[in-house]
């Protein structure tokens, strides 16, 4: 049945993808939504909520405001708050109600910017699309409004990390590990979209020589920066030791050639096991993990992607599985399944299930059990048996 999930959870929405992507940048992020939706984000999908301050607001739109299309209250509230908080930017985030009544968030943002002088933009999320499209919209707005083509490139080799959010990488140290790995291969981290970098650092992203895309949420800005700033991109997460080495090789090759590439299309694996494995998850991370497992264990590994992605990221054997029914069919005959624990009900009985928590799917339930697999032998985390 289309769009019916009887056994599994659903992914975080575009609305929360935006909040997560903009969380650390000093902007004021306003979800134009009924009160209550805020707590879904803060309680379940935002592990930084209790330890790191951010200006995330909810407009608490009421029934009568929706019926009357009363935008003035939103405009007034945002301007008043912005004048007190002095954010670096204002992002108005759409949700189901403004989507249905056709609220023009872009026009409202222009009115607010005119009044406050603070860069403002409307992001037309609707709460019904996946978190990756929200991350994509948010990063796109940051690049559009704050980044420019830098004529003077850095004298040292700089790599921007694109696609870092806790929704995909939790707070288990993976992003710090990617920064360390970049240093170990003789390069520097430029801007990290968007964990651990300030808005000022992001605005200088044009100084880098290459972009490393670690989540599909950053694919659009990678393409935009390639076109507008002449920065090639490499798509892949340096998980494990062997795949990390392939990512390193691709980064160095792209620096030389100026051409973009997808790492999972580049490695060679010697499949020597009769076992078949499936990984369910976000396409860039899952295909990277598949690359490491195929190289290290010789086990054929199929990625099942329930989220937005595109053909060039998936390998020939991988599948897009947006529906629960598609997933169940694709999992038949698998010996090993690697996925968020909430996917376990779909796992065939004879298969071994390896839990790999994904905040965007199960929220914070398994937060403390998500391993940092960056540039690390899998055996250190238990490996595959």
């Amino acid at each position: 049945m289309k769009q019916v999930a009887g056994l599994i959870s659903t992914y975080s929405s575009d609305e929360f993808g935006i909040c997560s992507a903009l969380y650390e940048l000093g902007g004021m992020v306003v979800m134009h939504d009924a009160s209550g939706c805020n707590s879904t984000y803060t309680t379940h999908d935002e592990p930084r909520w209790y330890d790191m301050e951010s200006m995330i607001y909810i407009s608490a739109i009421s029934e009568m405001e929706a019926i009357m299309g009363d935008d003035d209250k939103l405009i007034h509230d945002v301007i008043e708050t912005a004048q007190q908080m002095k954010p670096k930017f204002i992002a108005l985030v759409g949700a189901p109600i403004p989507y249905m009544i056709g609220t023009d968030l872009k026009a409202i943002a222009a009115v607010i910017e005119e009044e406050t002088g603070i860069p403002s933009f409307g992001l037309e999320a609707n709460g019904m699309n996946g978190y990756l499209s929200g991350i994509s919209m948010a990063f796109d707005a940051i690049v559009d409004r704050f980044c420019k083509k830098e004529v003077l490139k850095s004298t040292q080799t700089k790599v921007n990390i694109l696609g870092a959010t806790p929704l995909d990488f939790s707070l288990n140290g993976s992003i710090d590990s990617i920064r360390r790995w970049i240093k170990n291969i003789g390069m520097q981290t430029g801007a990290c979209f968007a964990m651990g970098s300030s808005l000022e650092e992001l605005s200088k992203a044009g100084k880098a020589q290459v972009n490393l895309v670690i989540s599909y949420g950053a694919m659009e800005i990678a393409k935009k920066m390639e076109e507008e700033f002449d920065i090639p991109y490499v798509v892949g997460v340096p998980v494990g030791k062997l795949f990390a080495a392939t990512v390193e090789h691709c980064l160095k090759e792209s620096l030389e050639t100026g051409k973009s590439q997808v790492v999972c299309q580049k490695y060679k694996a010697d499949i020597r096991s009769e076992k078949k494995a499936a990984i369910i998850g976000e396409s860039v991370y899952a295909t990277s993990l598949a690359g490491e497992i195929e190289q290290q264990y010789g086990i054929s590994c199929e990625v099942l992607c329930p989220l937005e992605t595109e053909e060039m990221i998936l390998r020939s054997m991988d599948k897009q599985t947006p529906e629960e029914d598609d997933l169940m069919e694709a999992l038949e005959g698998m010996d090993i399944v690697i996925a968020d624990p909430l996917y376990k009900p779909l796992c065939p009985k004879k298969a071994s299930f390896y839990p790999l928590g994904h905040i965007a799917f199960s929220g914070r339930i398994y937060e403390n059990k998500i391993p940092d697999l960056i540039d690390r032998e899998f055996e250190e985390t238990g490996g595959l048996r």
Partner: protein, 251 residues
């Protein structure tokens, strides 16, 4: 690209005016798109010889998904005018305004303007600016100018005033502005004077005065616009002159 939205009271002749204007632009050699924004989906019928295009909402209802190309929801009519209809939900259900926004967003995803590269886009909008959805055609990126169709009848002028007021309310949002009034005559007593008075009070100009004509009805019965049927007729020349003027003003 000249992008115009046509508003006016229901039944005042918006679709007739829009289709004839589209046919006039096409006759002048321009590449035209006409988008009907009315659940009735009858805006473009006289450009298509009575053989209608499948409205976008009908497609989505029938196939339970959005079309992947423009082919099933766009059809070329007289003079190569590309005809599209938003259509709407099942009468009495759903939200027609939201249907318009969804259609516009879909047309953007399908890269309508990039693929078709029109010189002129006409949005024929249902009646009044009743809610957010019906204001969508005048938002940034869509129409940049509005034509209000009215007769000298009291209720038509009342609707025209409502539309003009609604548009003025959006002036800080970068929306389309009212270009002028098209007087579509209904043979009301002192019709020109009545509309002139409204125009003067609203600071607007009457940019075309279309006579009441049996020829329009005759050719509509044949599934055509009068501009297609007989471009030499006086009424056809009014539409052609209006099209020329709009193009000249744009330049």
């Amino acid at each position: 690209m000249l992008k115009l939205a046509i508003y006016g009271k229901g039944g005042i002749g918006k679709s007739t005016t829009t289709s004839n204007l589209a046919a006039a632009f096409a006759t002048l050699g321009k590449k035209v798109i006409q988008i009907g924004c009315d659940p009735k989906a009858d805006s473009t019928i006289n450009l298509l010889n009575g053989d209608p295009v499948k409205p976008v909402m009908n497609y989505i209802r029938e196939f339970d998904e959005e079309p992947e190309t423009l082919d099933p929801i766009a059809k070329e009519g007289f003079g190569g005018v590309l005809c599209i209809e938003t259509g709407g939900p099942t009468p009495g259900l759903g939200c027609a305004g939201r249907g318009i926004i969804t259609t516009f967003s879909l047309l953007e995803d399908l890269e309508l303007f990039e693929i078709y590269k029109p010189d002129v886009v006409l949005y024929d909008v249902l009646g009044d600016v009743v809610c957010g959805g019906f204001a969508a055609p005048i938002r940034e990126g869509y129409a940049s100018e509005i034509l209000i169709v009215t007769s000298g009848e009291k209720m038509a002028l009342y609707a025209a005033n409502n539309i003009n007021t609604a548009v003025n309310n959006f002036e800080d949002r970068g929306y389309a502005t009212v270009k002028g009034i098209i007087l579509n005559r209904r043979n009301v007593e002192n019709e020109r004077e009545k509309v002139e008075e409204f125009a003067k009070n609203s600071g607007l100009e009457i940019i075309a005065d279309i006579p009441r004509s049996q020829d329009i009805i005759h050719y509509e019965d044949l599934g055509k616009t009068v501009v297609e049927g007989d471009p030499q007729l006086q009424v056809s020349k009014v539409y052609l002159d209006l099209a020329k003027r709009l193009l000249e003003d744009k330049e």
